[in-house]
């Protein structure tokens, strides 16, 4: 396992240019992912950034540091991985299939975290080659947060690895809970906070260059927006959320939140305004 320490992050622009340049990769058949871990040994949970993130995702002050926040610090490491030569796939065109995150201990503003992102496994998917990345946040040596990202490279004909299975098979019926509005500028706002300035999120024009008729919302924003409504209005010490992304949310849009609740969580979907097509499906427990 190769460990790469990153003490100063490249700028968001540099990360994205790196991702763009990676389009020239021609991997051929990939039998396994390289074993590499990127590490940011010292990241401070910044109050201003937490507030900006909470504002754009709809969390209130009562929620404390939202449980998805460490993703923002882990994401640049993933971008570095995609841009690097050792990683086989081009970054452009990767589809974010699923994202699971687990909070093990409460995170506070001004906590000093060690962020790690390591390559996971190959997963065989109907539509191509999927793979996982695992992220962790540690505080004083204890793991406070973990996350697994499942991404898909389309078009690979004989993918390797265990077959992809959904963790969200559940027949229970969902009821309409709330509506929310995703404005045309939400991709820019969230991009500014998260550093994910993939042009498909930023404007209709830039999205068109990459094959989308309008800008699409960041999946992680939609996930956070749903959690802002579902999570209890207090800072939690443990929580787990698993999400599978379905259809793109074209901006601007009105989306509806559907859920069935139990005492300790909810099964939910973010659907279109009419309520018949899901943008994402998830389960949260707290």
């Amino acid at each position: 396992m190769k460990i790469i320490e990153v003490n100063k992050l490249p700028s968001a622009l540099a990360l994205n240019l790196g991702a763009l340049r990676s389009s020239s990769k021609r991997p051929g058949v990939v039998e396994a992912l390289p074993e590499v871990t990127y590490v940011r040994p010292r990241v401070v949970v910044d109050a201003k950034r937490v507030a900006a993130y909470a504002k754009v995702c709809g969390f209130s002050k009562a929620h404390g540091v939202p449980m998805l926040f460490p993703h923002l610090d882990a994401f640049p490491l993933a971008m570095m991985l995609f841009g690097s030569r050792r990683f086989p796939f081009p970054a452009m065109g990767l589809v974010h299939l699923a994202n699971s995150a687990k909070l093990l201990q409460r995170i506070h503003v001004d906590d000093v975290l060690r962020i790690e992102v390591r390559t996971g496994e190959l997963v065989a998917h109907d539509k191509g080659q999927a793979f996982t990345l695992h992220a962790r946040a540690l505080r004083d040596g204890d793991v406070v947060w973990e996350s697994t990202w499942t991404l898909l490279r389309l078009g690979v004909r004989q993918p390797r690895g265990e077959p992809y299975t959904s963790q969200l098979i559940d027949e229970r019926p969902l009821s309409h809970q709330a509506d929310f509005y995703a404005g045309a500028s939400i991709g820019r706002s969230y991009g500014r906070v998260s550093g994910d300035i993939n042009p498909i999120h930023l404007s209709a024009l830039t999205a068109k260059f990459l094959g989308f008729r309008k800008a699409i919302a960041h999946g992680m924003w939609t996930k956070a927006r749903a959690l802002a409504t579902l999570m209890p209005r207090e800072a939690v010490a443990q929580a787990e959320v698993v999400v599978e992304f379905k259809t793109p949310l074209f901006l601007p849009a009105r989306a509806s939140l559907w859920a069935i609740r139990s005492e300790d969580g909810a099964l939910f979907e973010v659907r279109n305004a009419k309520g018949d097509k899901p943008h994402l499906r998830g389960r949260v427990t707290y």
Binding site: R172, P173, S175, H176, A178, T229, R233, I260, R261, S262
Partner: protein
């Protein structure tokens, strides 16, 4: 003093179809609706020119001009104008309470027959002028001389014209609407939305079937071109109910609401009345007896200081009544529980099954237990028919009496919750 207590017979009932507010009864007053209902009852049982012992009814939403609402309505029917009448108000408990009061007089031998009922409209709402302006006008009325009057009137500001006093469907003490209180109850008792939606589907399905079976043929008189409760959605599916958004969640459970317009009763207009009499009077007038009122109970809860659920009072009333009657919760053939909100019904049923609640709040050694759900609201209830506040009591009593008559024998439980943390319950038997 004569102290023999007689059995009180329910001879029959009448109501007009209930309509969602601001639809077909938008321009109809309480008095018009109640008059039509009473007249329909008089027509059905040939009471023309008869002097009844008492007519007791009420309206929750009442104009100040309707201070003698029931008496004025009686005078507009073909009942003998020598029939006394009075108004009473106990929020949604009005109808059943009115029936009980008439029944009590009959039981004690004070009267031979009477009518109890209720009416309500939220379309024809009593709006008052702005309170500040009202006080100015009263002051002007007291002022002596034109100059003094003008001086007082000059205090009126245009903004006062734009802010009338509007009746609010909320608890004065807590500032929450009834729906918000019910949402709090649903959260306290953990009643899932799916269960509430299922109860709503059943209510509509049962009411639709009852109409098809002709159950209401001799219980409803058409009014203003309407012959069926217009809130009824035939073939309402659970899928449709799932698409509705929670409507009482904003203040009390943001984003986590379970009460929707589909599993809560809508604001409704309508009226109902029930004819009661002693057995001798019924026999003398050749009138059939559907059932008898045997027990009743009222309860109130401290929803403000002790934070008991606003609509939990029936949960307290029923065990007290069962104790007096010497029977168990399961000893009924029919349960008519007013569906103010599906959540209210389900909270009440869950409370009766809960050993801790029964012991700590109701003072019972054993929980009351579960009821047979297949006997609950079998001909539909308020979620489907709608709920003109004071008219629900009469609707339920008449329907249940007929159900007992159709069965031939049996016992039915009525449970109605009311604003202000009260509840009225009764037992009908045959």
């Amino acid at each position: 003093m004569n102290t023999t207590v007689r059995r009180v017979a329910i001879i029959g009932g009448n109501r007009i179809p209930f309509a969602r507010s601001n639809t077909v009864y938008s321009n109809v007053s309480n008095q018009e609706m109640l008059t039509a209902t009473l007249q329909g009852l008089a027509d059905r049982f040939n009471l023309h020119g008869q002097r009844l012992g008492d007519v007791a009814a009420g309206a929750v939403m009442k104009h100040s001009r309707d201070f003698n609402l029931v008496r004025e309505s009686v005078l507009s029917t073909t009942l003998a104008p020598e029939t006394p009448a009075y108004d009473l108000q106990q929020a949604c408990g009005t109808g059943l309470e009115a029936i009980m009061l008439v029944a009590n007089k009959i039981a004690l031998g004070h009267i031979e027959c009477g009518i109890g009922g209720g009416v309500d409209t939220t379309s024809d709402a009593p709006i008052g002028i702005n309170e500040k302006m009202r006080k100015i006008l009263m002051e002007a009325n007291r002022a002596k001389g034109t100059m003094a009057q003008l001086k007082v009137m000059s205090q009126i500001r245009p903004s006062m014209l734009m802010k009338p006093a509007i009746p609010k469907n909320g608890e004065p003490r807590t500032g929450f609407s009834m729906g918000e209180h019910a949402e709090l109850m649903a959260r306290e008792w953990g009643i899932p939305r799916e269960e509430q939606d299922q109860l709503a589907v059943a209510s509509h399905a049962n009411l639709a079937r009852a109409y098809k079976d002709g159950f209401f043929a001799d219980l409803i008189t058409p009014f203003k071109g309407v012959s069926k409760d217009n809130n009824l959605r035939e073939g309402l599916s659970i899928e449709k109910l799932r698409t509705l958004k929670p409507c009482f969640d904003k203040k009390v459970a943001p984003g986590q609401g379970t009460l929707t317009p589909g599993n809560s009763t809508p604001l409704t207009d309508g009226a109902s009345a029930v004819l009661l009499g002693s057995e001798e009077w019924a026999r003398a007038n050749n009138l059939p007896v559907l059932a008898y009122i045997t027990f009743s109970e009222v309860a109130a809860v401290d929803f403000f200081n002790k934070k008991e659920g606003l609509l939990m009072a029936p949960a307290y009333a029923v065990p007290r009544m069962l104790d007096r009657a010497g029977i168990k919760l399961q000893d009924f053939d029919f349960y008519e529980i007013h569906e103010a909100f599906a959540a209210q019904v389900l909270c009440t049923l869950k409370a009766w099954e809960d050993a801790k609640y029964c012991k700590e709040r109701l003072g019972l050694d054993q929980p009351l237990g579960s009821i047979d759900r297949s006997k609950l609201n079998i001909n539909g209830s308020s979620l489907a028919a709608g709920h003109p506040f004071a008219a629900t009591g009469g609707r339920i009593v008449a329907s249940l009496a007929k159900m007992l008559a159709q069965k031939g024998s049996g016992r039915g439980l009525i449970s109605i919750c009311a604003a202000g943390g009260q509840g009225v319950v009764a037992i009908l038997e045959r």
